[in-house]
C-alpha cells in the first residue's frame, strides 16, 4: 500500500504492538514492533503502555478483532481509555470474507464511531 499519510501516522506512535498481516507489511516498522501471540494479549500490552503516558498503536487483522472483543468492551469502555487501532479488512480468501463484511457493523454496535475507512487502489 502506498499511502504516505498513513505511513506518517503509523510512525508517529512510540509503542507498536500487534499480530502480523501480509497486507500491512509495507506499513509497519517490524524492527521496533512487538509481536504478540494473540490479539487480546497485544491489546493488553497497549493498555499498559497508555497508562504510562506513551502513545501506542495496535495492528490486527479483521478476524483477530473477534479475539479482543472482551477487552474492547469491558476494559476500554469501563476505564475510559482510548487507543489507536489499525485493522486490515480482507475479502479474499473467503474464510476471511465473513468477518470482513461485518467489521464496520461490529464497530458501530460497540459504539466506536471515530474511524476512517481507506480503500486500496
Amino acid at each position: 500500500m502506498e499511502n504516505k499519510e498513513l505511513k506518517k501516522w503509523v510512525n508517529s506512535h512510540n509503542f507498536i504492538v500487534g499480530v502480523p498481516c501480509s497486507k500491512l507489511n509495507d506499513l509497519i516498522p517490524y524492527d521496533r514492533a512487538i509481536i504478540a501471540t494473540r490479539e487480546d494479549e497485544a491489546l493488553g500490552m497497549a493498555i499498559g503502555a497508555k497508562l504510562m503516558g506513551k502513545n501506542p498503536l495496535l495492528f490486527i487483522q479483521d478476524s483477530g478483532l473477534g479475539n479482543c472483543l472482551t477487552l474492547l468492551t469491558s476494559i476500554l469502555k469501563y476505564y475510559t481509555i482510548k487507543i489507536d487501532i489499525l485493522i486490515s479488512i480482507r475479502k479474499y480468501p473467503i474464510y476471511h470474507g465473513y468477518m470482513g463484511n461485518i467489521t464496520k457493523q461490529i464497530l458501530k454496535l460497540m459504539d466506536y464511531k471515530n474511524y476512517k475507512y481507506i480503500i486500496e487502489k
Binding site: A36, T37, D40, G44, I47, G48, G53, I75, Y78
Partner: protein, 373 residues
C-alpha cells in the same frame, strides 16, 4: 475595643477601596490583575517555549515573582521543563570541563571507608565470614539434590542445563539464613540466579520456602500478606479479576492498586505493558483460572523478560468466585512455560470478601495519581 498592633504601620487605602495595613502601594488583588494583562498565554508560549527563556528570566523582565509565572504556566497547560531537562548539554555549568587527577584522588579518599563493615546500613553482624560446619559436606548436599529430583525448586531448571551454563552443581540454600542449622528441612536446592534472588526480601523467601518444604498450604489472606512483604516504597500493584481482586481490596488497598475487574486473562499482559515503560517495580497477582485463559502470555513474558516485573500465581485448583468448579491447574506446570513466575499453592474455599465499590474511572484516576508522586 480594636486591637492595636505592636508596630505602627500606616493604614492606607488602595485604588479599589481595600485597606492595606503594611507599607505597600497596591493590594494583592490589584497587582495580580496587572500581571494578567502582561502574562497572557501567547506571551508565555513565545518566551518560554519558542525563545527557551527560564522562569526566572521572564520574571525579571516583567518585574514580578517567579511564583506568578509558574502558576500561570500551570493554568494555561504549558508543559514545564524539569531540572534534568534544563541543564542538558551546553546549558550544564560543567559542560566541557573535567576534574584533574589530584582532585579525583582527593574525592575518592574523602569517601573511602564510609560504608564498610558496621557503618553499612545492611550490616547483619559479620555472618558471611563465618565458616561452614563439618556436617555440611558433599554427602549431605548429594542427598538433598536427590530429594529434589536434581531440579531448581523455584524456576525448574535441570542439573544438566545448570552444568552447561555455570559449570557447577546446583546450589544448596539455608532457608533460615543460619549456617549452623544443617537440618534437612532447612536445606533446599536452587539454581545460581535464583540463589542470588534470595538475598533480598529475606522475610518473604523464608516463609515461602517453609510452606514449600513442609507441603503446607496457606489461606488466601495469609498468601496476600506474604506477598505484601516484597512491596517496595515505589512499587505498583495490579490484581486480576475474581476473588483475588476482592481480597487485595480488603488487605492492600493502601497501595492504591489497579484492579482489572473486567477482561479475562489479560492481567499479565497489562502488567507487562506497564513494566516495559517504567523503572518502577511492578507486582502482578493472578489466580490459576485466569492464567490458564491466557497461557500464551507466559511465553511472551519469558521472551521479553522485563526485570522489574514480579508475577505471583495464587493456585487453589478451582474457580472460587463462580462456585468452586475444578480447574486443570494441577496438570499444568507454569514454571516450565515461564521461569519468572512464583506459584503459591493455597487452601481451597472462597473466604469472606465483598465486591469492590469503586467505579472504573475512580480506579484509573487513583492509580495515575500514585504514578505522578
Amino acid at each position: 475595643m480594636k486591637k492595636i498592633s505592636k508596630y505602627n504601620y500606616k493604614s492606607d487605602k488602595c485604588k479599589c477601596g481595600k485597606e492595606i495595613t503594611r507599607n505597600a502601594t497596591q493590594c494583592g488583588h490589584c497587582t495580580h490583575q496587572k500581571y494578567d494583562k502582561i502574562l497572557t498565554k501567547e506571551f508565555l508560549y513565545k518566551e518560554y517555549i519558542v525563545n527557551k527563556k527560564t522562569m526566572r528570566q521572564i520574571a525579571k523582565q516583567v518585574e514580578c515573582g517567579v511564583c506568578a509565572v509558574e502558576t500561570r504556566l500551570k493554568k494555561f497547560n504549558i508543559k514545564t521543563r524539569s531540572i534534568s531537562e534544563a541543564v542538558k548539554g551546553k546549558n550544564n555549568p560543567f559542560f566541557g570541563k573535567y576534574h584533574t587527577k589530584e582532585a579525583k584522588i582527593k574525592m575518592s579518599l574523602a569517601h573511602k571507608g564510609k560504608l564498610v563493615g558496621k557503618d553499612n546500613p545492611s550490616w547483619l553482624g559479620g555472618i558471611s565470614k563465618l565458616p561452614y560446619l563439618f556436617k555440611f559436606n558433599k554427602k549431605l548436599k548429594k542427598q538433598i539434590r536427590n530429594r529434589d529430583n536434581h531440579t531448581c525448586q523455584l524456576c525448574g531448571m535441570t542439573e544438566e542445563n545448570h552444568l552447561n551454563k555455570y559449570k557447577q552443581n546446583l546450589c544448596i540454600h539455608h532457608i533460615d539464613y543460619d549456617k549452623k542449622n544443617c537440618d534437612k528441612n532447612n536445606l533446599i536446592s536452587l539454581c545460581n540466579s535464583c540463589h542470588g534472588k534470595t538475598s533480598m526480601f529475606r522475610g518473604f523467601w523464608r516463609e515461602y520456602f517453609e510452606y514449600l518444604i513442609n507441603k503446607k498450604k496457606p489461606t488466601r489472606e495469609q498468601a496476600i500478606k506474604l506477598i505484601s512483604k516484597t512491596i517496595n516504597k515505589n512499587a505498583l500493584v495490579i490484581s486480576s479479576l475474581g476473588m483475588t481482586s476482592r481480597f487485595v481490596y480488603k488487605l492492600l488497598d493502601k497501595y492504591k492498586p489497579f484492579y482489572l475487574v473486567g477482561g479475562m486473562g489479560s492481567c499479565l499482559s497489562v502488567a507487562m505493558g506497564i513494566a516495559l515503560n517504567t523503572k518502577k517495580k511492578i507486582i502482578a497477582i493472578t489466580g490459576d483460572g485466569e492464567t490458564l485463559m491466557g497461557l500464551g502470555t507466559l511465553v511472551t513474558h519469558k521472551r521479553l523478560n522485563p526485570k522489574n516485573l514480579w508475577h505471583f500465581i495464587l493456585d487453589n485448583n478451582q474457580h472460587a468466585s463462580t462456585g468452586g468448579q475444578k480447574t486443570i491447574s494441577n496438570k499444568c506446570d507454569f514454571k516450565s512455560l515461564s521461569p519468572n513466575t512464583i506459584v503459591i499453592k493455597i487452601k481451597k474455599g472462597k473466604g469472606n470478601a465483598g465486591r469492590i465499590p469503586l467505579t472504573g474511572k475512580q480506579i484509573k484516576e487513583r492509580f495515575l495519581k500514585v504514578l505522578n508522586e
